[in-house]
Subunit: 226 residues, 2 copies
Amino acid sequence: MSEKQNDKNQVFQTGRTTLVRRPERGRYDFPAIAAILDEAYICNIGFVLEGQPYVLPTAFGRDGHIIYFHGHLENHMLNVIGSGIPICFTSMILDGFVLAKSAFRHSMNYRSVVVLGRPKLVHDAEKQHALRVITNHVIPGRWEDVRTPTQEELDKVVVVKLAIEEASAKVRTGPPVDLDEDHGRDVWSGVIPVSQNYHAAHPAPDCGATAPLPKYAVNYTRPTGR
Amino acid sequence: MSEKQNDKNQVFQTGRTTLVRRPERGRYDFPAIAAILDEAYICNIGFVLEGQPYVLPTAFGRDGHIIYFHGHLENHMLNVIGSGIPICFTSMILDGFVLAKSAFRHSMNYRSVVVLGRPKLVHDAEKQHALRVITNHVIPGRWEDVRTPTQEELDKVVVVKLAIEEASAKVRTGPPVDLDEDHGRDVWSGVIPVSQNYHAAHPAPDCGATAPLPKYAVNYTRPTGR
């Protein structure tokens, strides 16, 4: 399993998380992994049910070395995931389209994280804490502004945690890399940068005229690790 | 398996793709599924290797009822996926953050597609066709502008196809839905719309001054099914 160094610079590389293709794009240290996780907020959870793999896109939050995600009690898949089976957590931030002079050298710029592990269900006080972590991961400060869950609401949510113990990050940056013999071709090559665009917020019909527009809804931004 | 109607309005609903939680968000007809696939271009492929699920984020293209994706020959995972094992294809477009007056009612607006199936490796003439489909799915018209792959390059690419036979789409739109008793709370509620932002293209160092900037690099846009 993971070869542990000190807590700040823990290394999560194992045989299963080591990049074979393009090893130079791999990162295995906690700061590199955490920076990507803190800019992202959507993940894809891979798991197996009766021999069939499924992939569930969902929001997540990070608290130190723990990733939390959640779903409704009626979402059977969350209970399956929380039962201790092996899962694959993946999250990717797309940074651009890489247009080369040859079709073969086209690529994308991106930063991604993979975490392998066996998640656990979260209960009691940690459940409320986890929901705060997820809410504030997506919209920092939101939890403090809204009505917190009642016990009845908490009972309807399944919360799952995954420890970051076996993981990798993968990053591609920069321009296309064409073959020498293609450099002279008279076709445009370069990068079209891609990012998320957060637009002006629309109030809900029942928002009410007196509710002040919070800072995160005026000009929503993410921390960036780039 | 899938209950087939006519080709244009085929239905892909099975027990495994039927939404249990929030069934009103489910769509099972081909036009609904195709519209989401045509706006998206990143998917997450779930598969199992030695009992461990993995999720691979990658680009894809659609040609009728076929989804194509690809990778380098050295990417062992593509060969595993193409060996006929069951996979889960998932693609999601995020449309907004849904901020309710209670933590429990927070959500996201999104459109997602799940396709279950056993993909096949693509060979010979179909391989070049599939690469054209993928390239032009991400950047329409790009294939026609660049040098097409040599046989040596084609031999280095693994191309996989997945038939859309068992699938579902899931869509959430609109404002937050708060409990009646929360409507009077003096906290802002509403939607922060999210979309992809395509920025001004940067030419590569070897682009050359005479290569004309193509239309897709001046003002890149996607077809939208919204």
